[in-house]
């Protein structure tokens, strides 16, 4: 039984690793943005109260990268496999349904681990970011765990979008959400109205949590952000479950 879960995850990993679009969008893009905005600014601070940009953006582009990895793996992955009939063949087989979702989750973790390792390497080698090992690890762990609500959000997209509309749908949610949460540019530089609306977004809470690990100035207590992320996870998972059961009734029922 555990062999199915392992093989399913391994196969999913190989599948994505060989898809050029996935690797470019989820690994290359965040690294490229970090080079442009993080490394180019280097040790400068955008504002005397903020840490150097290379350090600050390590947290926010880390969140950006983890979001991309999970939203594409779940959102586009499920939508394409559901829309084009592949998922039906699996549903008719003896595959335990949980194995399918486990594989997507495990692979999201694996790709998050890869992109974060590369991002941290860039920050340490070219951005002059220095901190104790325990802090590096805390940031790594926070960002990895922070991908969970976006798995559920991706699942909503995957359950509702068609195979061709899934990718634009992910972009339409992913990009604006990242900007409005201060992942590209620190929140302090956004219009007041966007700053006030940011707490409605899960990505805002993940970024605040990651910044707190770096001892950068944040809004609200860490525990509140953890609670918010847990709340978003439950909310999204509930909606995904509802969307999925409605969809299967329509298609399979």
């Amino acid at each position: 039984m555990s062999r199915i879960y392992f093989l399913e995850a391994k196969t999913e990993f190989l599948k994505l690793m060989r898809m050029r679009a996935y690797v470019v969008f989820t690994i290359l893009f965040p690294l490229m943005f970090y080079c442009f905005f993080g490394l180019a600014m280097g040790t400068q601070s955008a504002n005397p109260s903020l840490p150097p940009m290379a350090r600050y953006l390590l947290a926010t582009y880390g969140a950006f990268a983890v979001m991309g990895v999970t939203l594409y793996a779940f959102g586009v992955g499920v939508a394409v496999e559901r829309g084009l009939g592949w998922l039906q063949l699996k549903r008719a087989s003896p595959m335990p349904p949980a194995a399918y979702f486990f594989a997507k989750f495990a692979v999201s973790l694996a790709f998050s681990a890869i992109v974060l390792a590369l991002l941290f390497g860039l920050g340490a080698v070219f951005g002059g970011v220095r901190m104790p090992v325990s802090q590096w690890l805390a940031l790594y762990g926070t960002l990895m765990a922070g991908g969970t609500p976006f798995c559920a959000l991706g699942l909503i997209i995957g359950s509702l979008a068609g195979p061709n509309s899934a990718s634009p749908a992910v972009n339409l949610i992913y990009m604006p959400m990242s900007i409005c949460s201060g992942l590209w540019v620190p929140l302090q530089f956004l219009p007041r109205i966007m700053q006030n609306a940011a707490p409605l977004l899960p990505s805002y809470h993940l970024a605040q949590l990651a910044l707190a690990v770096l001892h950068a100035p944040t809004q609200g207590a860490a525990l509140e952000h953890v609670q918010a992320l847990a709340g978003f996870t439950c909310l999204f998972a509930g909606i995904a479950w509802f969307a999925n059961s409605r969809e299967s009734e329509k298609m399979y029922g």
Binding site: I4, L7, L16, A92, S93, M95
Partner: protein
């Protein structure tokens, strides 16, 4: 006991009456062809027997169990009308994963041999021709060493050679004692493979029998004329229903 059975099954999708009371039994070792035009209800019947859809009324069973039960799942395989499967996986990787779902799968080499995939097992799915892709889907259907196969229009869009290749695979499966339910709108395919043909139109079975018996119904030279004759006969009754 039949290996798969539909008893007085109806299936409505909203106002659409896809199946209007179908009874069909597949006996061990039989190849049954469900023959009918597009939209006749062939795929719906298969979906119900695969546990992907529940009948509105009536009963469906596979090996005496519910079609969605694990008991049924591990004893059957299927080729569905799949538009696309992950293209960045190798043939071997697809088969290895699917084999792992079953308690006693065929050895990998045997599946590859039986599906005619020797020599291309390390190619990516996306690099294969249409016929080769269909053979991979056939490999996924047989890799679990099932006793029963559901093949939903398995040769649509294939050239003659690829079609004949798949037919050989289906015959070999049946020769080992396996049962097959095949849907098709190619009369020639039903004639070449099936021991029994059930003609389906507008959600009803309008004729059933051996290929020879079906041909006699039309008093005509070929199966095609017989098929058209049956379709014409069944039309008045359908108008009454509507």
């Amino acid at each position: 006991m039949p290996v798969a059975e539909l008893q007085y099954v109806t299936k409505n999708y909203g106002p659409v009456r896809a199946l209007q009371g179908i009874s069909l039994a597949i006996e061990p070792g039989e190849i049954v062809a469900l023959l009918g035009p597009n939209g006749a209800g062939k795929t719906t019947a298969v979906r119900i027997l695969l546990g992907l859809a529940e009948p509105t009324t009536g009963r469906a069973a596979v090996f005496g169990h519910h079609p969605a039960s694990q008991f049924a799942r591990v004893r059957r395989g299927a080729v569905l009308q799949v538009a696309k499967v992950p293209e960045t996986l190798r043939v071997r990787e697809h088969i290895e994963l699917f084999s792992a779902y079953y308690p006693s799968p065929l050895p990998l080499a045997q599946t590859i041999q039986a599906a005619g995939l020797k020599g291309i097992e390390n190619r990516l799915f996306g690099e294969l021709s249409g016929g080769q892709k269909q053979r991979v889907l056939f490999a996924l259907a047989i890799c679990g060493n099932p006793q029963l196969l559901f093949l939903d229009e398995p040769t649509v869009g294939l050239d003659v050679e690829a079609r004949r290749g798949l037919w050989r695979g289906i015959r070999a499966f049946a020769a080992r004692g396996g049962s097959v339910l095949l849907t098709t709108h190619y009369l020639e395919e039903a004639d070449a493979l099936a021991s029994r043909i059930a003609v389906i139109a507008q959600g009803r079975i309008v004729a059933q029998g051996s290929p020879a018996e079906i041909k006699q119904r039309g008093s005509a030279a070929g199966l095609e004329d017989a098929f058209l004759a049956i379709m014409n006969e069944s039309e008045p009754s359908l108008e009454e229903v509507l």
